[in-house]
Symmetry: C2
Subunit: 274 residues, 2 copies
């Protein structure tokens, strides 16, 4: 377990202040997770541990964990929620998907809706997309002036530092899939009737902008991987490797936080239940 | 499965317009669920089915399900969420606990915070406590004038009909435990250090009002079990029976709703993914 998270961090962590070199990063992790069955067993153990640790986090009621999932269409954000957080369940985990902003959200600064969805004490919050959309799709599609986008990287870093300094640990995962893998997953949505409803012709438009998105992601990784909230680029072509990497990292983070059950200020003998 | 839900409804359903006779209702269900292992296996199957049905409900994106859990302290509301809804996970299930109202909530009518938390299309909403607190604790503790409380039963019925008529099915479960079982569960919270944080001396005050709560619950069941949103009183002394009864009922309800994947208005051959 300790060995695995070490390997993961050697492979996936974007060292703060260094170039992320996204194009050189792997979309498979056969070197650190060669065996599917062993990986799935580790994930099972890790999700059990996450559940137990979240229970203590809730009892302690003092801090929170925010897990940010970013990645292009079909990269597996929903699948990660299922694979890593279902055991913890809807009591302990709160998922917020960020889609196209509403009129009310657009009438505020871009972090307004994000801050509102920050996890409360004791809870694991998961963002499916996040504040980073405002420097990804917004930049690629030119939805805001370049100088406005330019300011946002530092604003995001400051915001995440604020969360961190107020007791919320921030974990950021970019789910990195290959162009070929995305083609296969989109084709599945066309071919499998039970997946047809997930198909969105707009995804094909974004696919044409693959290189622009890659560039925008690279800038995010270069500028927003910080000591208090570093980015990890997760090889995500194989779902079981992706889940294993994220489950191990979440568990390790919660273990580092070491939430503890509060000590009661009473003795059992103080009470007689009739 | 059909046989079981039939048995459950014969035993648990409060027929609209009839007296609930709460004091005569069982807190164990050995007659309909004699075997623990068989019950747990049924629950496992049913939670899998709930997960699959919720996926279709989400894809359909047209209707919702609201599950209301009511019961005195330690009756197992959180445990029900874990036992019945964890497999469906935080993507498909949204749990809202209703505690003491905030100042802002008190500045509105009592259904304001409830309506705000109604599940959105495609989602299963679970209320841990609900609008019924406003005719339970509020009545028992005299937190509102009697004539105000008196109006609320019909207001709740009208509100639930509104939800129903707008596509949200409403399921209501009262978790029925015995006085002895509550003593044991409270004592556990005193004796087991990992459960100490759940102990709240105020629960003992409520326990002293056991008969008043029973009377208030009986009125709720008598007056608010309707065709569109009937109450079920669930024998809840044995957690595995409670979970089996609720999982079977939720599954049956979703099967009756029969959500379906939307048919695409395109052919796979319309698109070429390059």
């Amino acid at each position: 377990m300790v060995k695995l998270t070490k390997l993961i961090d050697n492979n996936c962590l974007v060292a703060p202040g260094e170039k992320s070199q996204l194009s050189k990063r792997a979309t498979v992790a056969d070197d650190i997770l060669p065996d599917r069955q062993a990986a799935n067993e580790a994930t099972k153990e890790n999700t059990k541990a996450i559940d137990a640790l979240q229970d203590a986090l809730w009892a302690e009621h003092h801090r929170a964990l925010l897990v940010i999932l970013q990645g292009i269409d079909t990269s597996g954000k929903d699948g990660t929620v299922r694979g890593v957080f279902n055991r913890c369940g809807p009591l302990g985990v709160c998922v917020t998907p960020f889609g196209r902003p509403t009129d009310e959200e657009l009438a505020h600064d871009f972090l307004w809706r994000i801050h509102k969805a920050a996890p409360k004490k004791g809870v694991i919050g998961v963002f499916n997309r996040s504040q980073y959309e405002d420097v990804l799709v917004v930049r690629v599609r030119g939805l805001a002036p370049a100088d406005v986008v330019e300011q946002r990287y530092e604003q995001i870093n400051a915001f995440e530092k604020h969360l961190h300094d107020n007791g919320t640990r921030v974990l950021k995962f970019m789910l990195n899939i290959s162009r070929d893998e995305q083609r296969e997953r989109l084709q599945q949505r066309l071919d499998d009737p039970s997946k047809n409803w997930k198909f969105n012709a707009g995804d094909l438009e974004d696919r044409k902008l693959w290189d622009d998105y890659a560039k925008a992601y690279e800038t995010v990784l270069d500028r927003c991987s910080t000591e208090h909230a570093p980015w990890r680029v997760v090889p995500a072509d194989r779902k079981w490797q992706r889940n294993a990497i994220i489950a191990a990292t979440v568990r390790k983070t919660l273990e580092d936080m070491a939430p503890s059950y509060p000590k009661p200020d009473w003795n059992p003998s103080d009470f007689k239940i009739t």
